[in-house]
Symmetry: C2
Subunit: 453 residues, 2 copies
């Protein structure tokens, strides 16, 4: 079945295309391409460098080229456009869905963006600009303005006729919005229900209570609601509850995928790539990581200063140095665990900035419990291998560090949210670095007290 | 608009309900509940303890109770069922969609599961068992067996009639499968296209080339394809290409959400909760983290041993100890960055186990570049504050550590995939711990060489 080539097929074809493209052997490229369907071409394209992708793209028939372009990452679309000619671009751009168009426009230099917009037919341009009018990160920016609303008085029969007539404009066949005289959203109805119903039944009797999003609402929040309710689409209304567009589930998926990619990346201390790994130049990979790494390294100099302060203690009992990585490592891990869990809970809307105290009390208990367990084990082993006093130091430090780390790790994302920063930006590496310094201070204070230095 | 209560509303109501539930003040609970719609009740329920949720649930009208139950996390459904009576359970279970039912069954003890299955009406039981026949983690297990396929010879008119007649059984109105005489999937058609077409047109002329998933295929891979193609549903076929069911986009979303939750959790060194944070007992939180923490702590004892080996060197130049956290921290961060990026690329299917060499060469270059930059800065500052020799040691170590860390971090997920382990299990903390030990060895070897100890 060509609809799902095995990874091996794709790999082989990709390598072959790669070679053929390098050798400028266009006939082979063309032959290879003809054996692939659109998803396969997309997979192969994701593994090529920009210039090669552009060449490959030019060899596709017009309709296949469009199908491929439609499903590309906006970042790749941007590069492709850079390598194409004016008219080719205008065609591709014109054929995109209004909402795909906006994803792309967000990536393009504004000069090119407005030139492309001017090239659109009236109705398309209006729909696109309507969407562009809403702030970035809002549902309005991600919705489709192409909706065929129904009226409660019209019969199922009439409704079906209306949909039949304008089927091209319908974004979804389920969750069709029903409006009153002043365009207020009063319900949603599924085409399935219209078909099932007796033709004379008024739409008003078939419609369900509407779930909707407000156009200025945060796009992730609305997309999450659409997915959680397992709705196939969410009508979008203005502040007065008048219909302005619709967010289809696949648009919602796209928003959520992007948000989750960002959380995953930041949690690991990098900026998201928003493009396939193998298609990303090394310099771009470095760019996505170096700033984080520098910031974290600067933060880590704190640990050097802390150790500098306690150098005398270290000189006296060098053995203390042996446990530094173990202790701060454990602290970092505990902090990461808490931060990861709370960041995710925030993203899912399970907790909010208002839950600070509930989260804190939970994380303190979790940290203390785990610290107590690790502390016992650590104290036992160290006490046995080295000395009882040292064992006591390690044990006490583990309890303290785990408790502190879990609390800090759990609080950080909430603090971030409270100051309107992406919680994932106070990422795990960030928290480790912070916990490292704290842990060292605790460690040496306990050591001094117990060993009476 | 009750369809989207602000977080504050929900919080206030949640606290009020909380109190009322504690005080057994059921009238108040009932009054509060009556003001909330289903999504709001779900949000509130996510913030309650199990027993309270069960009480609240009992006070809901039958239909609202079902709507709420349908959208609950399977983990919460399980607990609810534990607190409910036989007949109540059977009703809820019977009213679920077949695929929601399977999510729940996967959570239940097999005795209860089979009892519930026996309680189902014939047709429902057959559909559910058909799905249960497929292995866990396969599309077959997540699809809906309720499909109304069309035949290529029937006209658009007839097709619409057929859908009308059996609209209850239709999982999706878009991507309706078209089968030949022997149930082989030969195309998919949208209801929209059927409506738009001239009534006499045969379905065969309206259908599009089918994209499908094989029932035994990995569910995440199929769900990802469904989302990437922005398809509203993906027909599911057996090895011979015969239709067995359909995976709707909202099922796909559910699969992806779960997989991403797991990756996020493991990347932070915890097991996924698969339930709202505030509804999770502290002991369950500890359980989701303690094993990881112990394993990582054991791994970290490696660093103690390494330092033990180099204790003489430390005694001689205590200053070396000051930089240990900074150096291993930077190494850990670099490793995390690479691991995070590659793990995500694997999940998206952008890279495969076969790309080991390509990934390695990229990560070596990225690591070396970043190490060189950090090394220059580190050497400069340390050389100026402490001593030129020490500066040289720090600089060289940073270059080496970053290169090694990026390579290890980039390889680990691929190794995991190659040995059929979830790449996210070789998580960031795991990699940090591993990189810590390696980094220390490099550090002290360079120090000895440069300082001639």
């Amino acid at each position: 079945m060509t609809t799902q080539p095995t990874p091996v097929d794709i790999d082989v074809t990709a390598r072959a295309l790669d070679r053929a493209l390098h050798d400028q052997d266009l006939p082979t490229v063309r032959r290879r391409l003809s054996t692939l369907d659109v998803p396969a071409i997309l997979d192969v394209g994701d593994r090529l460098e920009d210039r090669q992708r552009a060449v490959m793209f030019r060899l596709l028939s017009k309709d296949r080229a469009l199908a491929v372009f439609e499903h590309m990452e906006p970042a790749l679309q941007r590069e492709l456009i850079r390598d194409l000619q004016g008219p080719e671009i205008a065609d591709l751009f014109g054929a995109l869905d209004p909402d795909d168009r906006v994803w792309l426009l967000d990536e393009l230099p504004s000069a090119l963006a407005s030139r492309l917009l001017r090239g659109l037919p009236e109705i398309e341009r209006l729909r696109t600009s309507a969407v562009l009018g809403y702030p970035a990160e809002s549902v309005g920016r991600r919705m489709s303005a192409a909706v065929v609303p129904l009226h409660p008085e019209s019969t199922a029969e009439q409704a079906i006729e209306r949909i039949r007539a304008r089927a091209d404009d319908v974004e979804t066949l389920t969750a069709i919005p029903v409006l009153d005289g002043s365009r207020h959203l009063i319900g949603i109805v599924d085409l399935g229900d219209l078909l099932r119903a007796d033709p004379g039944t008024p739409v008003g009797r078939l419609m369900a209570e509407p779930r909707s999003a407000i156009a200025t609402e945060d796009d992730e929040r609305a997309a999450r609601r659409c997915a959680d309710l397992r709705a196939t689409a969410l009508p979008v209304v203005d502040a007065e509850g008048r219909l302005v567009g619709i967010l289809s589930l696949s648009d919602a998926v796209r928003i959520l995928e992007r948000e989750e990619a960002e959380d995953l990346a930041r949690q690991g201390g990098t900026e998201p790539l928003h493009r396939p790994y193998l298609s990303t130049p090394v310099r771009a990979l470095v760019r996505s990581r170096i700033v984080w790494l520098l910031v974290l390294a600067v933060g880590a100099t704190l640990t050097v200063q802390v150790l500098d302060v306690f150098e005398a203690t270290l000189e006296e009992v060098t053995a203390l140095a042996l446990f530094v990585p173990l202790l701060i490592g454990t602290g970092g891990n505990t902090g990461n665990q808490a931060a990861t869990t709370v960041t995710r809970a925030l993203a899912l809307g399970d907790v909010g900035a208002r839950d600070v105290l509930r989260v804190l009390s939970r994380e303190v208990r979790v940290g203390a419990l785990m610290g107590a367990l690790l502390g016992l084990i650590g104290a036992g082993i160290t006490g046995w291998v080295y000395s009882p006093q040292l064992g006591l130091v390690i044990g006490l430090t583990l309890v303290a560090v785990c408790t502190v780390a879990a609390s800090i790790g759990g609080m950080m994302p909430l603090v971030a949210r409270a100051v309107k920063v992406d919680p994932a930006v106070f990422s795990n590496p960030f928290i480790s670095t912070f916990v490292d310094a704290t842990g060292l201070v605790v460690y040496f204070l306990i050591a001094r007290a117990v060993l009476g230095i």
